[in-house]
Symmetry: C2
Subunit: 150 residues, 2 copies
Amino acid sequence: MATPPNRPAGLPAWNIPTAEARARFLAALKPDSHGLVAAIAQAHGTGEVLMLAWMNAEAVEETLATGRVTYYSRSRKGLWRKGETSGQVQHLIDLRLDCDGDALLAIVHQDGVACHTGRRSCFSWGLREDSVAPLEPVLADPATLYGKPG
Amino acid sequence: MATPPNRPAGLPAWNIPTAEARARFLAALKPDSHGLVAAIAQAHGTGEVLMLAWMNAEAVEETLATGRVTYYSRSRKGLWRKGETSGQVQHLIDLRLDCDGDALLAIVHQDGVACHTGRRSCFSWGLREDSVAPLEPVLADPATLYGKPG
């Protein structure tokens, strides 16, 4: 029942599950033919749906064992420790499994913003006045988040 | 700017977008190699994440044009008008697009329960005391929802 290091004060504890418990969770998953399950991140407290990404078994294991959310990047074909580059870490509050075992819901404390555009949530566009328009403001400069020249 | 029929009283209006607006929304999608985008349903008001399913272009078009959520069933290989069998309809409040165009967030009014197990949300399992356990109660009898012998 260790707790993760570098966890912001005031968050509910993430009691790291035992190796046996993590193995039970992994055994309940039904990954697709690529070995992946979909993973939704939802903000603790506000309930905002932040993003949708993918996890393989290694990412799920690392997420449970560290209390920080790790995805699998399909484009980079490797583990994607959310916030490793941008600092926008997701601290795990709970990891829920759906009825089919092929999708996860990570309840998280999001440091800063989830979206690479600098918006809080990736789901920030919708139809307004017959056009697809951004619905949410840019809160962080992507050039700063990713260290690219502005 | 028609509104859908059979919409429960008290819901925010769904002003059916014009055919041109729906075409613009569809043009912003980047479906996968199977022609699908992931679609998350979130409950209006409470913010509960209810389910994750898939939509093809036809399902997105029908959802926007009717104000009732239609998915694409990968197992049945056809449109899945949520609630058609079970009565557990999802009335559309907003349909949001993510930064990559490959995932949607449907904000919905859920009639009854979203999960085929009779739970409000499909994301109703998690690790408790080292085991994968149901976290939410069964609110509706699946045998009643789907007309199967109990």
